[in-house]
Symmetry: C2
């Protein structure tokens, strides 16, 4: 498996890291890239993440046998539209979006008979620091990538998609788009929203800055994802809002249980609520690959 | 500064690590320990964390010139009572409780003229794994310890307390008990409750286990503190319930802002909410010592 020309659409952390990983694995001959910002695409050349910057999306996609769409999910629809007429029938097109139903809907609405090119993908990797400057070849190593194939994704193209991610170190799983979006609303999107809201709730208080000065390693890890990119997460939360709101309602119910136990002074109920969370989370840590690499202090 | 006899009351992670650190720093001649569980105190001897196990709290405290009370905050009152009659006037008594107003109230109610022995302390360190097995001499290195002195804590004893924590690697700060409890409700106690509630909300769903199978490094770090010890955190949340409930109400307001923006499809408001959290959290990372030691991936 070797690609002649990778077109990277969106030269940021996720796309840049994919390009670096593919090159390091010897899977690609030439990498061209497009970002809406000229500064970004020139920087991507400067950092040797891409070989050549293109001034339009269509120019990048033309003649590419592999296209990676690594833009915020809110920009997927216009990107699909812009590549529709130049996408080659044999090309493998993948995205890296954190939501899948909305991205697939955009592809279905725009790609026409090129829909068969598309294998939707979500690599469970990233950093809270966005941008091409933070791209690294190892970002996807030992991470999971989820594919949510379409009825039109042929077995051969699906296999190639699987092989690409596996070649750069990912464990590859397959899910339906609906199961994907429900899952990540629960284990990623809502936690991000909680981390954002926690920081905002502290900042809104007159003593907020003084509070933050005292915060320790427990807060550090809990709130790490609150530093994530605003455009990316605006799009994710918005794209998956139905599932996110469902999870938020369930979280409010779980918080009510704590609040009720505290107000009633029911320490047995409180201990039970904590014990069940602690047991589940401790068991999860013991699963392969879930141990924190941090020294894991809290307070 | 060298102590003849450290009495460790509560041979767990926090107390055991303090004992190991003091010994490593050459600050103590003999360490005796008491835990309610015979098994625990024998294990503490076996692991060479303490030199000698005592069968009662009073026996341990008798003749000690340094006492560290490292029990869940709900057990402070009975511990103070049990040591009242054997505490020597010159002894330095400290706790490691994560709440301060309730611990001080218990001391005031029980210690009588020995109240002057007591310098309340809260080292901002720990692990989500409790127990003497996880004790380590380095736990407090480069961490912060907060002292909340009483009017009766003389300047000399306060200085000794400061020197002990500094000698095992801590940055030492002083706060009022009230400011301490408000601060840690915001940056520690509420985040723990949110992490517990998030895990419980996932577990309560039929697909909860499948959701957790897919969770990535963002969830790992966000929820790490959900694995914390149930008895310890039952006591902390209960002891500081007024401040915790105040912070919970503020968090609910911050969550309402996200919910309203999502429901209204107001992506500009959503971006603004995320952007302000992201900016604050990113700036906090840049403060000395706050960088994650983890590889900091998210999804």
């Amino acid at each position: 498996m070797k690609f002649q020309r990778l077109a990277l659409i969106g030269c940021g952390l996720m796309g840049g890291s994919f390009a670096l990983a593919l090159r390091e694995a010897g899977l690609v001959h030439t990498i061209v890239g497009f970002s809406a910002s000229e500064k970004t695409r020139l920087r991507a050349v400067e950092l040797k993440v891409i070989d050549q910057a293109c001034t339009s999306l269509a120019e990048a996609v033309q003649d590419a046998d592999l296209v990676l769409l690594a833009v915020p999910v809110g920009a997927m629809h216009s990107s699909f539209s812009a590549m529709r007429d130049v996408l080659q029938p044999h090309t493998l097109l993948m995205d890296v979006g954190s939501t899948k139903c909305d991205v697939i809907a955009a592809a279905v609405a725009t790609l026409g008979d090129r829909l068969s090119c598309f294998v939707p993908a979500h690599p469970i990797a990233g950093k809270e620091m966005a941008g091409i400057e933070h791209a690294e070849a190892s970002l996807y190593q030992a991470r999971r990538t989820i594919l949510t194939p379409l009825p039109k994704s042929g077995i051969h193209r699906l296999q190639t998609a699987h092989d690409v991610w596996a070649a750069i170190g990912c464990h590859v799983s397959t899910m339906t788009p609906e199961a994907h979006d429900a899952t990540f609303a629960a284990v990623s999107h809502l936690p991000h929203m909680l981390a954002f809201a926690t920081v905002n709730a502290i900042t809104a208080q007159p003593q907020g800055a003084a509070f933050l000065d005292m915060a320790g390693p427990g807060f550090r890890d809990f709130s790490r994802i609150a530093a994530s990119d605003a455009s990316v997460w605006r799009d994710i939360l918005n794209a998956n809002k139905t599932e996110v709101l469902t999870q938020l309602a369930l979280l409010r119910t779980a918080l009510d249980q704590f609040e009720n136990a505290l107000k009633a002074g029911d320490t047995a109920a409180l201990q039970q609520l904590i014990q069940q969370a602690s047991a589940v989370r401790s068991a999860w840590t013991l699963q392969a690959g879930n141990a924190c690499s941090t020294a894991s202090e809290d307070n």
